[in-house]
Every structure is written in structure tokens, then in C-alpha cells.
């Protein structure tokens, strides 16, 4: 471009994490024609690890050789090197690095000027920036300096970077009768390589208590030793639930972090009256009395009166008085009711009916 007329030039290298180089293991028995020669060559290979030469898991750091994608939430790092193309001494070199996104311009570096630069010196700038937008970014490097006669000069170089989306997050809500809301988040890796999810948590608003369901009681992850974690967090409460915070790492610890936007959920409309089972034995013996407990909740604004009807079926016989009037239930209160009954035939369900009598 315009470099010919300038005394300085600029190179940029993206600093993604290095990879680990390893040898190409070709071995033979000493009885084979090449004798031990191939084994010896493998041992002398600097990328081979003594003791595990035949494993392609080396310790030799290899600089990134081909452009690697950058994903939202990762840190964009680059090495910017300004070097002299002339024998003359150049003065007051200033390197300014900006990142232009579709919405804003961010200043990444603006070091204090280097007083002078001889022909074999360089100005080195390393920048780091966590990318927070998807789409085209432009790295703008502006170098200003004065030539030997003091004339100010400036040139710019542009580098285009595409930021891709790394994860696809889908959330689903489930609710049970006990006021708990379950959140299932499906996190799909849409990058080209495997990633390791380091953390997924739900940063909730103050309205919620969260319990993570991804660990067994002794602290092990339910997803095995490594690999992808999918969160399932149980919540209780209403509308603004919170954000999912996801941290992942890929090659040699390359880190990325994403937060979802606020997860919204409309409060469930339970109506004025809720009736739910709170305690029920898992197994009951045929023709033996058992008890269970139910909770009756008045969520309305008025006191409510109830009449309890028990209907015998082929399956079950109640041990209680049907048609009895319950104590009035004031607004926003609940009461636990005990029921007794005898199962008559082996079966696995229970039917119970209740009529509400409201007094206005």
C-alpha cells in the first residue's frame, strides 16, 4: 500500500495460544532392517518427550501457524511490531492501536512515544482485548513519527477480524407443584474444536434462591470427569430470573466467557387456591391404613371456606368424614391436611376431590 514511501513498516501477528508439537512416531524392532535407527531418530527428535516418545502428546510449543477463528467472549491478543526500513534514525515514534466494531471504536493501546529508532530496532506492542460483539472488527494501527529532518509522518494499517458466535444457549423452564421452577440450559458448542466448559452458573437476581443440580451429593459433576457441562438449576420465585454465566477453555487454556442476557419468565398464574400433596409414602401395603399430607393454600385476597368431600372408588377407601366443613382459611395462608385411606386393589394412583365453598 503506502509502505514504500515510509521509513517504518508494521507487522501484526495474532497471539492465539501456541499448540504442542509432537513427533511422528515411526518405530521398529531391532530385528527389523533399519535396526534401531528409526527408534534412535525418534528419541533425538526435539518434539519427543523422553519416556513417551511414541505418544503424540508433546511439550514443544509451536507458534500458531494458520489463522484461528476468534469467538465472542474470547480475548483477542496481538503482537504489533514496528521496524525501520531505512538506515536513518527515526524520531518520536507513536503507535496507536484501535479496534473498530460495528458500533464503537475502542482504544487498545496508545503508548508514550519512543524517542528514537535505529535501523535494527523495533517498537513492540502487545494488545489484549476481550471481544464483546459479533461480526466484523477492524484493527486500526496508526504509526506516527518524525523523519531525520523532523517532518511528521503518519501511516495506518487495517486488519479485518471476524468474530464468530461460539455457543448456542437454549433455555427451558419447567415448574412443579411445589413452587419450584427448573431451568434447563442446553449449551451447544458451535466452534470448530472441542471446548471444555469450566463454569456455568446462574447469577440470579435477589428474588431467587438457586440450587445447582449438576453435582452429586459428594461434589462430582454429573457429566463425568471432563467435558461439557449442562446446567440445570432450580429456582424459586418470579419474573427476572438472572443471567447464565459461562466460562470455557479450548486449546492450551485459551479462555472465553459469555453471559446471557437476563432470562425472563412470567410468574406462573396459580390462581387463588392451590392444593398440593406435600407428603405421600412411596409404597403402601394393600388393605393397610396409610396417611398422607396435603397443603391447601389460599393465595387470594379473601378468606375462603372449604368443604371436603371424599369419594370412595374401586381402588381406595377413605377413613374420614366426607362433606365436612374446614376452618376458614385467611388470605395468603396455607394449611396442612392429613388424610387416611386404605388401598383396596394394587394400583398406582389416587384420586381426591375437594369442593370449595367461598364465602364473600
Amino acid at each position: 500500500m503506502e509502505t514504500e514511501e515510509h521509513l517504518l513498516a508494521l507487522r501484526v501477528m495474532r497471539l492465539t495460544r501456541p499448540t504442542l508439537a509432537s513427533p511422528l512416531p515411526v518405530t521398529c524392532d531391532s530385528k527389523d532392517l533399519p535396526g534401531n535407527l528409526l527408534n534412535t531418530a525418534l528419541q533425538q527428535d526435539p518434539t519427543a518427550v523422553p519416556g513417551t516418545e511414541t505418544l503424540a502428546i508433546g511439550q514443544f510449543l509451536l507458534l500458531p501457524q494458520s489463522p484461528v477463528n476468534i469467538y465472542l467472549g474470547e480475548t483477542f491478543s496481538s503482537y504489533i511490531c514496528v521496524y525501520s526500513e531505512t538506515k536513518q534514525i527515526v524520531y518520536n515514534i507513536n503507535v496507536k492501536v484501535d479496534l473498530q466494531t460495528s458500533t464503537q471504536k475502542l482504544q487498545l493501546s496508545n503508548n508514550s512515544p519512543t524517542p528514537q529508532l535505529t535501523s535494527d530496532q523495533t517498537v513492540n506492542v502487545v494488545i489484549h482485548h476481550e471481544v464483546k460483539e459479533i461480526g466484523t472488527h477492524i484493527l486500526v494501527c496508526e504509526v506516527s513519527y518524525q523523519n531525520s529532518s523532523g517532518l511528521p509522518m503518519t501511516f495506518r494499517k487495517f486488519f479485518k477480524i471476524m468474530v464468530l458466535k461460539p455457543l448456542d444457549v437454549k433455555t427451558k423452564f419447567y415448574n412443579d407443584e411445589n413452587d419450584d421452577v427448573y431451568l434447563e440450559a442446553q449449551v451447544q458448542n458451535i466452534t470448530y474444536g472441542p471446548i471444555c466448559l469450566e463454569k456455568i452458573s446462574l447469577d440470579t437476581s435477589h428474588l431467587f434462591n438457586v440450587k445447582c443440580l449438576n453435582k452429586t451429593p459428594n461434589g462430582d459433576s454429573i457429566f463425568g470427569k471432563n467435558m461439557i457441562l449442562q446446567p440445570q438449576s432450580s429456582l424459586s420465585g418470579a419474573t427476572n430470573i438472572g443471567k447464565l454465566d459461562i466460562v470455557w477453555r479450548s486449546n492450551l487454556g485459551e479462555k472465553g466467557r459469555l453471559q446471557t442476557s437476563q432470562l425472563q419468565r412470567l410468574g406462573l398464574d396459580y390462581g387463588d387456591i392451590r392444593f398440593s400433596i406435600v407428603e405421600l409414602p412411596n409404597f403402601v401395603v394393600l388393605e393397610e391404613l396409610f396417611t398422607f399430607k396435603c397443603k391447601l393454600l389460599n393465595n387470594g385476597e379473601r378468606t375462603v371456606e372449604f368443604i371436603l368431600y371424599l369419594e370412595n372408588t374401586d381402588h381406595i377407601a377413605w377413613c374420614d368424614i366426607s362433606g365436612r366443613k374446614l376452618e376458614p382459611l385467611p388470605p395468603h395462608t396455607s394449611r396442612i391436611l392429613d388424610f387416611k385411606c386404605i388401598p383396596l386393589i394394587p394400583d398406582n394412583y389416587l384420586r381426591c376431590a375437594m369442593k370449595r365453598h367461598q364465602r364473600y
Binding site: 524392532d29 531391532s30 523422553p50
Partner: protein, 542 residues
């Protein structure tokens, strides 16, 4: 030169630590033994060509034994690395006192080690063909053409001196003329010459020589598809050729030339197919290394899944052989009497080979990015008796790092460090890599520097220090460290990975990068006999 290290590869072939020191001496003797063997094999060729029935006895390979009493020793070395078990204690000392009394057991031991080394269970179709071959009168059995292995050299022309060509393109004919490298014509046209080329690293020249030697067997250029006979020597030539093609990264040629061999499952690569030549000898004529190389080949050509299938099939056969041995049978399931010490040796050899195949499967899983499979197998390897657990745990830790699982890596490295005390170079380098994963290149540099103090000539450590310097913004220092690595040990440091790193740095540093790369090429021309084409193009391209 690096200090003489014990050949740690031996652990995959079942050696104990205290025996390692003995192998170095053995390596020296090996060369002479090989020379003798090549003479022997040449003699076999002559015999074969004349089709004299003189060799149709049970120990078809043993007549020359008296000339080479060391052969038995090397059989044992090859298989078991000088293990000292009950019968026939064979050590380098025993070798020096080659008395007649000890000679006789060695002959039997040689037949036994041959049998052990070559054992293999043929696939069902091959087994049927071999039975048909054995039960029909000699010369009347005509197998299906697709049961025959018909290889031929496919490369139309000899490979040139790649470095010399690169030099003449970039630096001019005059400099190219100064290059002195070993060619196929500079050595004796036999196995010994071939080894000389391989030792010098002149892989392309060695490949050219294999083509010439194979034409003696009627398997040279243009012979693919023609019916031919196989012998241990011809298959060893093929193994060497394909191994060197792989090492030169000429994967597609290797793949094409290896194609007729399949997975070495056809009847004509088993000794039973040639009863008039090998008598009652059974097993695979092709070596285990060749079989493994062929199974790995698709992986290098971008077809790792194909390799995975082949490697797992090899592993299944080896497991079957081990189970046969444990049940009191021979490797291939024949109910033949084995001496107890021979059985122990066989179990040791084949479980070593089992581990070696598992290593290849791990490599294949890594190239498929199937880290779970790789970790599973590494875990299994750790559980094996006598496994180098610290080295394997360290590898497992690096696998975790590659995936990005830092806490998992740390657990492995800690466990490995507890097993290796005091912490050596490997542990320090692993710590450094962990620091890099945590984005702390300065701390990583300190670890690498500590490691470098322990092994100042270690190229890998110097390289890693250079990489850390770059990430810390010190380009010039990074270049200086890598250049130091090369100047202190040019023969080994002019490795393609190091050259790639240095080229990246030169490109960054100034517009004079190309001149510096030419400088590297000049050094390569001086110190190396051969280099893969890709890296040479990197040096003179653009």
C-alpha cells in the same frame, strides 16, 4: 550431541530399568550383526532363485547360524531387550564368551524367538486358504488372485535431493554445487548401504535405494499387480521404504504403494504359504512394525477413522493371542507345548506390543480430537503392571491442557510429580505449560529457565523459552534464544517445528526475514541430509 540416554522406547517392549544401560553396548554390536545378516539374506536370495530344495528344512534360516552366533542374541534383544529370565541367560557378557556349549541352546532359542516375534492369527479366509494350500500336493494349489499381495514401486522417478534443489532455487547453482550429501550411489547397493543412508538421515536417497533393491525381487517399478513371492527380506525392504516415505511426509505415495499389502492379512505373507521354503515355520513374514505402520498410514492421509478401525482390529488380535498364551496355547491358538520361560517371554513381548498399539490408538484419537477415547486409553495404560506411570500421567495432564481443562491437568501433573522425585525436566516443563494455560507467560518462562539450567542443551526447552519471550513482547530476545538453540546443536535443532517458529519470528521482525530464512536454509544444507518439502518451501517461498 545429547548425552547418551537409555533407549526409553524399550519400555514398550517390556524391559526393566536396570537393563537399559546394557542396550547401548548392544546397539553398537547391532550394526555388525546386521551386516552379517544382510550377507546371510543375500545368500538366501540366491538360494531362492535357484529354487534349490536344500533349504526346505524346519530351520530354514538357521544354516548360516554358525557364522553369526550373535543372531540369537539379537533376536532376544529385539524382543525382550536383554531380559534375563530362567533359561538361556543371554547378556552381552555371555556374548563375549561364545563357547560351543552355549551355542546349541541359542539355536533353539532363535527358532523360538522367531516364532514368537512372527506369530499372528490370520483372518478366517486366509486361514482357509492356508489350509487348502497345505492339504493339496505341492504346486497344485492356485489361490484366488485377490488373495495375493502384488506390490510394486509406483514412484516413476528417483526422488531428488530436496535441500539441494531448494538451495539452487533460492541461493543459486553455485551454492548448491557446494552441498555434499549422501546419495543412493554413494553406498553399497545392499542392506548395509541402506542403513548407512538411514543413519545419515538421507531418507530420500534411502527410498531410492529400496526401489533398486526391490527390483531384484521383481517388485520394482511397474511391477504392481504382478504375482510375486515374498520373503522376510523383501517385506523388510518394503517396510523400510514405506516407513521412510512416512518420515519424509510423502504420505500419499506411501499410501498408494502400501495399498497392495492391505493389512498384511493375505495368505502369501504367511510362512505357511511357502512350505517348501520355510518348512513347518508359521506366522507372519512381515514384521509387527510393518503391520503397525500400515494400520497408522490412513491417519497420516487424513483418514484417521480408517486407522482407528485397523488399530483396534490389531489390538483385538493381540488380546486374543495373549489370552491364548494364558490358556496354555501358542499365540495363534495351536495347542503346542511351550516351555514356561518361553511362555513368559511371549507374554512379555506381546503385552509390550499391545501397549505400543494402544499408543497408536491414542495418537489416532488425538488427531480425531476424540480426547475422551485418548484419556480412557491413557488411563488403561497407567493401570498396567510396570507402566511408566509418571510419564503417562504427565502426558495425560498435557492432554487435559490441550482440551482446556486446567484443573484436570493440574491433578495429573501433581500426581506425576509425586511419583517422580526429585522433579526433573519433564515436571518443570509441564508446570510451565500449565502457567501458559493460565495466561502467565512470565511464570512459564521461569519454569522453563529452571529446566534449562538442568539440561542446557535441551532444544525443546530453549524453544519454549523463546515462545514465552515473544508473548511477553520481546521479539528480539525470542529470536536470539532460538538462534542459540540452533548454533549450539545444529544437527538436532534444525527440526521443522523449530524452523517454523523461527520463520514466524523472522517474518515479524523486519523485511529482511527472507534473508535470514536463506541463512537457515544454508545451515540446513550444511547439517541435514534431508528435510520434508513443506518446511523447505517455507524457507524459500514468498
Amino acid at each position: 550431541m545429547t548425552e547418551p540416554k537409555p533407549p526409553s522406547l524399550t519400555q514398550y517392549f517390556g524391559s526393566d530399568d536396570n537393563e537399559k544401560t546394557q542396550s547401548d553396548a548392544a546397539n553398537e554390536i547391532l550394526e555388525t550383526a546386521k551386516q552379517m545378516e544382510s550377507l546371510k539374506l543375500e545368500r538366501d536370495e540366491v538360494v531362492n532363485e535357484k529354487k534349490e530344495p536344500a533349504v526346505c528344512r524346519i530351520f530354514a534360516e538357521t544354516p548360516v547360524e554358525p557364522k553369526d552366533p550373535t543372531a540369537a542374541f539379537f533376536d532376544l534383544l529385539g524382543n525382550d531387550n536383554l531380559k534375563t529370565t530362567g533359561s538361556g541367560v543371554i547378556t552381552p557378557l555371555g556374548l563375549a564368551s561364545k563357547t560351543d556349549e552355549t551355542y546349541i541352546p541359542r539355536v533353539t532359542s532363535s527358532a523360538e524367538t522367531d516364532r514368537r516375534r512372527d506369530a499372528w492369527i490370520p483372518i478366517e479366509r486366509t486361514r482357509q486358504a492356508l489350509i487348502a494350500n497345505a492339504t493339496t500336493p505341492a504346486g497344485t494349489y492356485i489361490p484366488d488372485p485377490d488373495l495375493l499381495t502384488t506390490p510394486g514401486v509406483l514412484l516413476e522417478e528417483d526422488l531428488g535431493d530436496a535441500i539441494g534443489e531448494a538451495v539452487s532455487i533460492s541461493l543459486g547453482e553455485a551454492e548448491a554445487a557446494q552441498r555434499r550429501s549422501l546419495g543412493a550411489n554413494d553406498v553399497t547397493q545392499d542392506e548395509r548401504g541402506l542403513r548407512e543412508l538411514v543413519q545419515a538421515g538421507a531418507y530420500r536417497a534411502a527410498i531410492n535405494l529400496t526401489a533398486r533393491l526391490l527390483s531384484i525381487y521383481g517388485q520394482g517399478r511397474g511391477r504392481a499387480g504382478h504375482i510375486t513371492k515374498h520373503s522376510p527380506h523383501s517385506l523388510q525392504l518394503w517396510f523400510t521404504r514405506i516407513a521412510l516415505l512416512v518420515k519424509s511426509k510423502a504420505f500419499n505415495i506411501a499410501q498408494a504403494e502400501a495399498e497392495p499389502f492391505g493389512q498384511l492379512e493375505k495368505p502369501d505373507v504367511f510362512y505357511q504359504f511357502y512350505p517348501d521354503m520355510y518348512g513347518a515355520r508359521t506366522g507372519s513374514i512381515a514384521s509387527f512394525s510393518f503391520r503397525l505402520l500400515l494400520a497408522e498410514l490412513p491417519m497420516h492421509c487424513g483418514k484417521p477413522k480408517e486407522s482407528l478401525t485397523k488399530l483396534f482390529s490389531m489390538l483385538a488380535t493381540i488380546k486374543k493371542m495373549l489370552s491364548n498364551l494364558r490358556q496354555g496355547l501358542c499365540e495363534d491358538g495351536n495347542p503346542m507345548e511351550l516351555a514356561e520361560s518361553d511362555r513368559t517371554d511371549s507374554l512379555r513381548l506381546w503385552s509390550g506390543r499391545e501397549a505400543r498399539v494402544m499408543h497408536s490408538i491414542i495418537n489416532c484419537a488425538i488427531s480425531l480430537k476424540d480426547y475422551e477415547l485418548a484419556m480412557e486409553l491413557l488411563g488403561q495404560l497407567c493401570e498396567r503392571d510396570g507402566a511408566p506411570k509418571h510419564a503417562l500421567l504427565s502426558a495425560l495432564g498435557r492432554l487435559h491442557l490441550q482440551l482446556g481443562n486446567i484443573s484436570g491437568a493440574e491433578v495429573c501433573f501433581n500426581e506425576a510429580a509425586q511419583l517422580a522425585s526429585p522433579p526433573g525436566v519433564r515436571e518443570l516443563v509441564d508446570r510451565g505449560l500449565l502457567a501458559i494455560a493460565q495466561n502467565d507467560f512470565d511464570e512459564a518462562y521461569i519454569y522453563f529457565q529452571q529446566a534449562s539450567n538442568m539440561e542446557p542443551s535441551n532444544i525443546m526447552i530453549l524453544n519454549n523459552m523463546g515462545v514465552c519471550l515473544l508473548y511477553g513482547g520481546h521479539l528480539k530476545e525470542a529470536i536470539a534464544v532460538l538462534e542459540l538453540a540452533i548454533s549450539s546443536n545444529p544437527v538436532h535443532a534444525l527440526h521443522e517445528s523449530l524452523i517454523l517458529n523461527l520463520c514466524s519470528l523472522y517474518d515479524m521482525e523486519s523485511s529482511k526475514g527472507i534473508m535470514k530464512k536463506f541463512g537457515l536454509l544454508r545451515q540446513l544444507s550444511k547439517y541435514s541430509a534431508d528435510a520434508p518439502t513443506a518446511i523447505l518451501e517455507k524457507l524459500y517461498g514468498r
